[in-house]
């Protein structure tokens, strides 16, 4: 997959005009919330830039992230991402296998030492020395440390790589951890989502190539351009939330009227992603528009938050034993207090009676 030469040369070779490139960079600039002139700067920078070497490692994952990305490449603007990068190693997409594939990665690492971008999808198994997930005779943990050592930056694509994801769900039998827990000496950008929005991946890569720096990130190291707003704030059903009109189930009148899905467990208010604006499948729809609440898949721990269909405001108590135990303890403490009070009173009355009897005896004594 590796090719030399500039991105501009590659585009010309494929018959893609400058106008198309400008349209594409205009699109990228707009989704990255950059000023209009940035579109031209991006086009110029991309045309003269070398194709960015990318090594893509897949660890404990379901390949959904790769599926999401590849499905979005057809037919127009998104497929240009392949012209921006030189994808030197990607197990699912590459034709070669075995020693040849590993050799390609080694060659890319040597040729672009310190300059390549490492993309990781999937969490890293650390349990039992990482034996739960291996490739080419090496654990993912070992491979990650080795390949990340010479990378310019690491892109954790998908919630598994970014935050641990489903493999990290309780009881986490493989000791899964996010990439950022292993790689601490390099910039790690998290593009979370299960799967992440393809434009978020493409936009972030384009930004790095164009400006030679990382985009603005939020406190979870996600590009603010895509993860700056909550789903709730951009949701077209928000007015129903404000009016207090909620669907109570997935097939009631409220659901048919398109009312807010908060009561059926939508996690939109605490989920930051661009689903409500960029949408999916070429801007056709997104989960809430399809009638299902947001699962909160771009947030850490979404898999262990007490049920996808439990409303956000409802406490995740569920532990009736604790509350029942507290009630029993309360009754016991109350009964003990009563017994103690009655005992003290009886003792006081007895002492009083004894004192009175003593006085009477004393009075009768000549």
């Amino acid at each position: 997959m590796s090719e030399t030469g500039t991105i501009g040369e590659a585009l010309i070779a494929q018959g893609i005009s400058r106008r198309s490139l400008l349209k594409y960079t205009g699109y990228l600039a707009s989704i990255l919330a950059l000023p209009p002139m940035a579109s031209r700067a991006m086009a110029d920078a991309l045309a003269s830039a070398k194709r960015q070497s990318v090594i893509w490692l897949s660890f404990q994952e379901c390949t959904g992230c790769t599926e999401s990305l590849t499905r979005s490449f057809n037919p127009t603007i998104e497929d240009m991402i392949f012209n921006l990068i030189s994808l030197d190693y990607q197990e699912t997409l590459m034709a070669s296998a075995g020693t040849a594939a590993e050799g390609a990665m080694q060659a890319a690492r040597t040729a672009n030492k310190g300059k390549y971008v490492l993309v990781v999808d999937g969490s890293v198994s650390t349990g039992a020395g990482g034996v739960y997930s291996t490739n080419a005779g090496k654990s993912n943990l070992e491979t990650l440390k080795e390949v990340a050592a010479d990378a310019m930056a690491v892109l954790s694509v998908g919630t598994c790589a970014a935050f641990g994801g489903i493999p990290m769900a309780k009881p986490n039998p493989t000791g899964a951890v996010p990439v950022s827990e292993i790689i601490t000496d390099k910039p790690v950008i998290n593009i979370s989502g299960c799967p992440p929005i393809p434009e978020a991946i493409a936009g972030t890569v384009a930004y790095i190539i164009t400006f030679g720096k990382l985009p603005d990130l939020d406190h979870l190291n996600r590009p603010k351009a895509f993860f700056g707003d909550s789903i709730h704030d951009r949701c077209y059903r928000r007015p129903f939330y404000d009016k207090g009109q909620f669907a109570k189930s997935f097939d009631d009148e409220g659901a048919r009227n398109g009312w807010c899905l908060y009561e059926v467990g939508c996690k939109g208010p605490v989920t930051y992603n661009a689903c409500a604006t960029l949408k999916w499948n070429g801007g056709v729809s997104f989960p809430i528009q399809s009638g299902h609440g947001c699962l909160g898949c771009s947030e850490p721990g979404f898999w262990d938050r007490g049920g996808f269909y439990k409303p956000l405001s409802a406490a995740v108590m569920g532990n009736r034993e604790i509350i029942g135990g507290a009630a029993v303890a309360g009754v016991a403490a109350g009964a003990a207090s009563v017994a103690l009070a009655r005992k003290r009173r009886a003792a006081a009355l007895a002492a009083q009676a004894a004192a009175s009897a003593a006085v009477v005896t004393q009075e009768k004594t000549p």
């Binding site: 207090g244 262990d304 405001s313 109350g334």
Partner: protein, 219 residues
């Protein structure tokens, strides 16, 4: 575990357990205490204890004119924030979901704008109650740390809830977590502070009514 996960899970579970334990402990120990027998003769024509208890409760819902305007303000203001709190707790759809999770019952909620107005009025009323407490020499004299702390712990959920709904000051999940933590603090403090009046008001007013009825005190 995020702050929100902590608030929704362990914090509220612990707070609820303390609340249940504390309330039962206090109520049982109070009701089970040995009573001093009343040796006074019952007034002729005195109402039954049940009737006297109900009368006592109802009559104490309004302050007699003789008590003056200051008490009237305190009473009306008290009704305002109690009613406001009731609207917020039982009218906000998100709160109804919490109660539904606990008790399984459900009813229609009010629009968020109505709840926001109720919360602002409640907040203003609570501030007025505090101003009165600190400006009145008598109130200041009889106020203890318990009173001020109870005021703070009642006001905090209203304020944080309003901030969460308005998305003011921090990210929504942080505001929501803080709001839930203030509720947890309220539940923990409830049985041991002045908030226990929510249960004890029925006992104290009824007992006062019975005592007055027996002696023929006009209330």
């Amino acid at each position: 575990m995020t702050l929100l996960d902590f608030a929704r899970g362990p914090a509220l579970t612990f707070a609820m357990a303390v609340f249940v334990l504390g309330v039962l402990w206090r109520l049982i120990s109070l009701l089970g205490l040995p009573w001093a027998s009343d040796k006074t003769a019952r007034r002729i024509g005195a109402p039954s204890d049940v009737k006297a208890a109900i009368t006592g409760f109802v009559r104490h819902m309004w302050v007699p004119k003789a008590m003056g305007q200051t008490s009237t303000f305190a009473m009306i203001n008290g009704y305002i924030f109690h009613l406001g709190l009731a609207i917020i707790v039982f009218g906000f759809a998100q709160h109804i979901l919490v109660l539904q999770g606990l008790f399984g019952v459900h009813w229609p909620g009010l629009p968020t704008s109505v709840i926001s107005v109720a919360a602002i009025v409640t907040l203003a009323s609570l501030v007025a109650a505090l101003v009165r407490r600190v400006t009145s020499p008598v109130m200041r004299l009889i106020s203890t740390v318990n009173d001020y702390f109870t005021w703070a712990i009642t006001t905090a959920p209203v304020l944080t809830g309003l901030l969460a709904v308005s998305h003011l000051g921090a990210r929504y999940e942080t505001l929501l977590a803080i709001h839930m933590l203030t509720i947890a603090a309220l539940l923990i403090w409830f049985p041991f502070g002045k908030l226990m009046h929510a249960f004890l008001v029925f006992l104290t007013r009824a007992e006062t009514g019975i005592s007055y009825g027996r002696r023929g005190v006009k209330i």
